[in-house]
Amino acid sequence: MNGVRELHLVGLSHKSAPVAVREKVALGGEDLKGALAALADRPGVGEVMVVSTCNRVECYVYGESLEEARHFFLARTGDAKGHLYERSGREAVRHLFRVAASLDSMVVGEPQILGQVKEAYGLAASVQTAGAFVSRLCNRAFATAKRVRSETEIARGAGSVSQVAVELVEKIFGNLKGRAVLLVGAGKMGALSAKALRDLGADRILVTNRSPERSRALAAEIGAVSEPWEGLTSLLVLADVVIVSTGAPSFVITRELAAQAMKARRGRSVCFIDLAVPRNVDPACAEQDNVYAYDIDDLQKVVSQTHAARAEEAIRAEAIVEAEVMAFAQERETRAALPVLAELRRRAEQIARAEAERTLAHVGGKLDEKGRRSVEAMAQAIVNKLLHGPTARLKEAAASGDSDLPGAAAELFGVGEAEAPPRARTRPHDAPDADVHTEPHR
């Protein structure tokens, strides 16, 4: 038996289930803590972690079977049936690594998911349902995600329209400190972009809309200031970034209006982002100096370029994930034999040191510093040579899934039992991690 085989996963995501089902099983905060603790107390469950985002809910169980994980979903809603995917062993490890590396995301390469997995792990660790195994698993998942990020270009470019808008604005204005953003129209996408721009440092966000009620509502929602529609002309003088998304059938920002605003702005740059269809900003505006205008097609084109580039990078990312999964599985398998090995080595070294000291107590006076060191080195060398064969064989046996040999070795040498697979709940404090000996070998 080895660790990886005992990992099970049941989940549903944007790929397998509609949002109507996902929202029924999604849970967070205190609810999730309660659910984790309840799940961990079920028989046959060692460790538990649940990743719950708006795109996926996944239950990772380290234990005897995936029955409990499946039950976690079906107890919540019968609708989940038919939308669940189930993985065990390496498949489950691979799935988590892919999720963390953002290979399974709706927008491949998007950066949020890693943070969400980290949060899920943190939550499970805080209620102590994540023990030594899940800790190690998650650490490797995070390291894999980091490798994918730094060794491939999967996270390069802008993956969504609002990200493209932000990138553009950044190239025109640098940061947005002290600059004003104007939202013309109360569309949802405009609001998203405005929020993203605030993250870039814009400290003034203004909203204007034909219907003042909607303008006020949106302003309240995103922490902006609502301005009357009639003042649009003077607002254009104020704002450096103008995001337009009204339902108007024709240009709201005409060439003349832009020219008039530019005159009053004394040439200060302005960027129009037109998210509306039909378009609300006359593209001819951009013919003037220091006026930049983009429509939804311009932004969408960048997004699809990014997606195409990311799809290519994903192939390289999958190879990294595969290598990391292999390394992790092997590490866990080898680890099963390691308590015996560590104990064996510890005892042998203890004996060697004691014998060397005894010898030195007798003859140490006749030896110089160099001679004394040679005696110590000789004792150490005997230990190493004697243990070399058994060490190699034990590791080999463990890697091939043979658990008899470690047991036999333990009995033969009279040292402790090999690490037992989790029969009952293992908590971090009663499952000290032997990671000191098991740094991944790559």
Partner: protein, 281 residues
Amino acid sequence: MSLLVLRFAALFYAGAVTAYVLHFARPRHAALATVGQWLLGIAFVVQAVAIGLGCKEYGGAEFFGLRGGLVFMTWLAAGASLVVQRLYRIPAIGAFVTPLILVVLLPTLFLVKPDFPEVLPEAVRRPMLTIHIVTALLGVALFAIASLVAVMYLLQEREVKGKRFGALFSRLPSLAALDQLNQRLVRVGFVVYTVALLTGSGMAKVVWKSAWQWDPQQISSLVIWMLYGVMVQLRHTGWHGRRFAMLTIVAFGLVVGSMVTLNVLPEGMTRHGGDFSGERK
């Protein structure tokens, strides 16, 4: 000896060019920019040694010739660009400035022979002249860097306006940053150049007994000074971005043009070609 050390400096400049250009091509390797900056710093120091040795060898007369002037100007440009890098942290600038420094420096290593007068009139041996030479060359160096920043601005503007979000778009800094840097370089350059102009007329007064002589050098310097002065003023009336960048390039074109013409013109036409070569440019 000074020439040998100068060639060493050129090697380091070449290294800095390589590092900066590679960094521009592969921005993910951030260490390249650091390497470039270090190499540029080392080149600056080595060139300082070369200039110091040159002063010892020729007693300062070197800077009255074209060769010495170019050497000194590249050194000042390297120093200025080190300061700019330190203040703004825009390594992309290195990929534009260091090649220019190297290109200007190269002919002084092999082609241009030392071309200064054997004997310097005692009248010009004054601290005022030193200030004049340093500020004039520094002013031109700053205008040169400003014009390169303006080129970067125009390149980036073409990407941003033309909706070409490719390699240049991601590698060049933001338009606002380039515009601001351009403006500041022009401003500082103008102040420095003003000092050069004042000390220049001071020297003219000493040597020619009159501050203004309708000398071609004086006329072109005054025109250039006024042009940059106008640019500093235009800034307040909303001139920025594309138009300002173009103006920066045109103005520097004029600087280079006047330098070339005045050096090509027959000796007789420049009043100080004979006795006052400090106003060489």
